[in-house]
């Protein structure tokens, strides 16, 4: 338990010290909110979709959480390159504990990022449908954070260096985001796209966030929680297994 705590604490300390990382990570969601939110808003309204900013905001919060989570998970590649990973790997701590600690740390950082993005959405004019539902939204953000930190860790366990980073961004993270229903409603889509969207676990995260924040959910919050919960368990298990096989 102490091992999990100290691994978690390390991530939090590193995050709070990396001010430039915090500031830098605000830029992208803000750009999406302003460019897409205000840019596509009139078209969306004209098409009868309603207020696009209300639709978009939960999606962009999910994006902030997703990117930070994957990035936090992938950080162990840096740990490997700078040698610190050895220190963790030889410690008499079970691999599951290390995985829990790393995942909890990365996910907490991603959740903080989600809260920051939530504040940004308030600045550009988004308002939750019901403030009492905000804690529930936090729970969904936490599930998204856990899921994708574990994914990042699992992927990073298989990589030796940062060469594969662009590959991960372009072939995993970007598709996860764009095909999640963050930017467009997952309704009346071409069949192929509709299938892909339903297979993307982030879809359920976005749907859950949207349900909690705007009161409109496509799959129902129960389904969203179930899918995310199962995926978290599966990925933490896969991640621990891959992590236990890491050699230096």
């Amino acid at each position: 338990m102490n091992a999990i705590y100290i691994l978690w604490l390390r991530q939090i300390k590193r995050y709070l010290r990396a001010r430039s990382r915090i500031v830098g990570s605000i830029g992208q969601p803000l750009l999406f909110l302003v460019a897409l939110g205000f840019g596509l808003g009139p078209v969306y309204a004209a098409a009868g979709g309603g207020n696009y900013m209300d639709f978009l905001a939960p999606g962009i919060i999910a994006m902030g959480v997703l990117f930070t989570a994957v990035f936090s998970g992938i950080q162990i590649i840096w740990d490997r390159q700078f040698g610190f990973l050895k220190e963790t790997l030889v410690a008499p701590v079970s691999r599951l504990e290390i995985m829990f600690g790393q995942t909890a740390g990365g996910a907490s950082v991603a959740l903080l990022q989600g809260i920051i993005v939530f504040c940004l959405t308030l600045i550009v004019g988004f308002r939750p449908d019901n403030w009492f539902m905000v804690p529930l939204a936090l729970c969904f953000a936490a599930l998204i954070a856990l899921l994708f930190t574990a994914l990042g860790l699992a992927i990073a366990s298989m990589l030796d260096d940062m060469q594969g980073f662009q590959l991960i961004m372009n072939f995993i993270v970007m598709p996860l985001f764009f095909l999640s229903g963050s930017l467009f409603p997952a309704k009346n889509l071409p069949t192929a796209l509709s299938v892909v969207v339903r297979l993307d676990p982030l879809t359920y995260g976005v749907d859950g966030l949207r349900g909690a924040l705007t009161g409109v959910s496509q799959f129902g919050l129960g389904t969203d929680t179930l899918v995310l919960g199962i995926m978290v368990v599966i990925l933490v298990a896969i991640g621990s297994w891959l992590f236990s096989r890491v050699q230096i």
Partner: protein, 267 residues
């Protein structure tokens, strides 16, 4: 009072990386409470062997026992038996000196009050007390090295591995650190397994030595027996006589985590 039980044994240990054989049928044993030096030129297979002993690499074949445990199938128990100071840097630059030590102490389950006492003492010992709250990235190479050694000594393991621990340290610091290690060995019966390029360090501190070259053990015994065997006056001369005077190149693979000697290069 070292009894005669072997606390580390390696039998027919082999590590192959694709076409490279880094460790080639190596066997040796270390007795409990012994100070054992593992010597060899660059790329001889020292670090690869240490990584296999310390669960970081899986051997291609061969048997290892660390304190009675197999580092492949009983990783957890094996890890409970040793501590290690790595050859390459392994500190978190974004944490302070204190935090790095604290992290280690907690991971190794050193109880809080003992942890605090030891960390305070060790910081004093490596003369970093006044820098304890500075981020490690602001440290010089020598300071980082001292901090890593201090970190390796927070929990008192049964076996302590030191992979070129004193590299880049001045003679004063080296001497200072060895005194501490010898005390630990004497008072706590800690088994010490170290590699070094400083022959006088091995001569002075080690009870037994194994010399590895091109992945094979070429000689082993007490410092005196190696000198006698090669009819040389110093361990340095004995070492050169055993391993030749040719300068070795290290082959570093992608990621820099494999240091090995290309078999093709020596044919």
């Amino acid at each position: 009072m070292a009894d005669n039980t072997n606390i580390i044994t390696a039998e027919h240990l082999v590590k192959r990386f694709d076409e490279v054989v880094a460790v080639d049928d190596v066997s040796f044993s270390v007795k409990a409470g012994e100070i054992f030096a593992f010597l060899g030129p660059n790329g001889a297979g020292k670090s690869t062997t240490i990584k296999m002993l310390t669960t970081l690499l899986r051997p291609t074949s061969g048997e290892i026992r660390i304190n009675g445990f197999d580092p492949v199938s009983q990783q957890h128990q094996a890890r409970h038996s040793f501590g290690i100071v790595f050859q390459d840097p392994s500190l978190d630059d974004e944490l302070t000196a204190w935090e790095n030590l604290e992290f280690h102490g907690v991971l190794y389950g050193v109880e809080k009050s003992l942890r605090r006492t030891r960390i305070t003492e060790l910081l004093q010992f490596v003369e970093l007390t006044d820098r304890k709250d500075s981020l490690v990235k602001t440290f010089s190479g020598g300071m980082k090295r001292r901090l890593e050694i201090a970190r390796g000594l927070i929990h008192h393991p049964t076996i302590l591995f030191l992979d070129e621990p004193t590299i880049g340290l001045d003679p004063q610091t080296r001497n200072h650190i060895w005194q501490y290690l010898l005390e630990l060995n004497r008072d706590e019966k800690m088994t010490i397994f170290f590699s070094t390029h400083y022959m006088e360090e091995a001569d002075r501190s080690a009870q037994r030595i194994a010399v590895i070259d091109q992945g094979k053990i070429v000689a082993s015994g007490t410092p005196q027996s190696l000198k006698d065997e090669t009819k040389t006056a110093t361990l340095e001369d004995a070492f050169l006589s055993l391993t030749g005077k040719e300068i070795r190149e290290e082959a570093a693979a992608a990621g820099g985590h494999m240091r090995a000697w290309h078999t093709s290069a020596r044919r």
